[in-house]
């Protein structure tokens, strides 16, 4: 037990950045887990007598909106949605991009050309058009949005995995495995994949942050969360109407997005420093 803990904590000691990022992440996970308990009010129910209370009003830590709804509770209740969308889309992008990237590195010739062309085409496809069209077909919602973001962003993983796989596949231990007639799927999954892990961890972290921003941007445009779900992008969109009378309505979700993304970036920076130090 002690040994496991030591091994887990060793990288944190080595990099203060990673420690800070991990601590921040722990804080966010706590907020996510305790979200419902920490909400002081019903995020959807307002008291019109208390509308537009500024931040710091007794009972309303972050103030209230135009319908008198408590902003702190609303910001908290938007967290699971955003994190959920980012998680699902990242995993989808990782699976798709990782598989295709590895295949492009392993199979030279046509498979490689086709996959690389597919990467280029997806990258040059205007993501917003796809997002709007899928919303038009399937309606707004958690799964349409997550799947759209995943399908549009897998080339990020494919590119990195492809480059790193080319390097790893040229290493002696892979050649040794090939000489010993280990079959290809086994080489890819058993020999290549473990080597890709550090790179994947870094890309996944940064991509997660990008997906959070993308989700809030789409919700901000009115294309993400269904009406009524108080995601941070939707809160920002609502706040635009009260820019003059209630600036705190914008400040709270904007700060929340920035803080979450910055803490994830810290983690990513720490992971990539760790990866560089290992080499």
């Amino acid at each position: 037990m002690r040994g496991v803990l030591k091994r887990l904590l060793a990288p944190l000691k080595a990099s203060p950045q990673l420690a800070l990022g991990a601590a921040a992440l722990l804080g966010w996970i706590l907020l996510l887990a305790l979200g419902g308990l920490l909400q002081t009010h019903d995020p959807q129910l307002g008291d019109l007598a208390e509308r537009f209370s500024p931040a710091g009003t007794a009972g309303h830590l972050l103030g209230t909106d135009n319908l008198g709804r408590d902003l702190w509770s609303r910001v908290l209740s938007g967290l699971p949605w955003s994190v959920g969308v980012a998680t699902v889309s990242c995993i989808l992008a990782l699976l798709l991009g990782g598989t295709l990237g590895m295949c492009a590195a392993q199979y030279q010739g046509y498979p490689r050309t086709i996959i690389n062309q597919l990467v280029d085409a997806t990258l040059s496809f205007p993501g917003l058009v796809a997002a709007i069209i899928i919303v038009a077909v399937a309606g707004r919602g958690f799964w349409p949005l997550s799947i759209t973001l995943g399908l549009l962003s897998w080339p990020v993983f494919a590119r990195v995995v492809y480059a790193e796989s080319l390097r790893l596949l040229a290493q002696d231990y892979v050649t040794a495995a090939r000489v010993m007639a280990v079959n290809t799927p086994r080489i890819l999954l058993g020999h290549l994949l473990p080597g890709l892990r550090p790179v994947l961890a870094v890309v996944f972290t940064f991509h997660f942050a990008d997906m959070l921003v993308a989700e809030s941007a789409l919700s901000f445009l009115g294309l993400g969360a269904p009406l009524g779900v108080p995601t941070w992008g939707a809160l920002l969109q609502e706040s635009r109407d009260f820019l003059i009378v209630a600036p705190w309505l914008m400040a709270a979700p904007a700060t929340a997005i920035a803080l979450l993304v910055v803490s994830i970036h810290l983690l990513g920076d720490g992971l990539s420093a760790l990866d560089r130090a290992r080499r």
Partner: protein, 307 residues
Amino acid sequence: MLAGLAQRAARLLILLLGVNALLFVALGLAGDPALMLAGEDPTPELLERIRAEYGLDLPAWQRYLVQLGRMAQLDFGVSIYSGQPALEMALEQLPGTLLMAVLSMGLTLVTAIPAGVWIGQRPEAASRRLGAALTAVAQGIPGFVMALVLIQLFVVRLGWLPSLGYSQPAAWILPSISLGFFLAPKLCRVVSAGVAEAMQEDYIRTARANGASMRFILWREALPAALPAAVALIGAQFAFLVSGVVLIETLFLWPGIGLLLLYSAQNLDFPVLQAICFVVAVLVFAVNGLADALLRLIDPRLRPATQ
């Protein structure tokens, strides 16, 4: 060189066909444009007439081929809403998008490169570490959040700047800062990493031992070593800028490709969407080609071995 160019052109063609096919399928799934055109409570006869007029009554593969044939002649049809030729509409937005791209890229270059060189000179110094930490934080703040804060501050609170349109240069300031703020931290980090690495090299130590000034060493010896990575990133960032920055253009009502893209996508205006995709694909292709050529120019290792 010519063979390379032909290969690139062939790849562009394949790419355009792929994007076009994807868009055709996606738009086909999006719903019946005849219903949208007909307005409220359409009669079956009216729907029939609209379908015949726009060729919507043909089977999908025929529509695809007809459309492909027209596109080969750069005819994307007319906008379903304004009746204006679609390609013309997309090209009209081009100056706005290019202006924004050049302004924000310029701002990014003049801030990120000096800052990156400064941090990279002695990355272990306390002041530089603070600078590096600040760029790390700045990188995490989404561009549209920054834009909202800037509007709140300079338009609503202080009333110093206009926030809409691009008829007057004062309105150019906030959009370019929002985008520059989003792009600069990344470039700054790439430059500082490259410079910091170069500063450890033997040739820099030799130059210092020979009494070269710090300014000469940083700008003429260390920065060039960091340039290939920087130029690759600048190319990618510029490609992002010309492909329509929807959020920033929407926030500032900037008449660029992004605004038209959002508008026509919301209205399912097929011809305009096709034209925009075409224009963007050509632009991105041109930017990538330029970036590649520039990379070859500044990095001799990338040139094909001659003799």
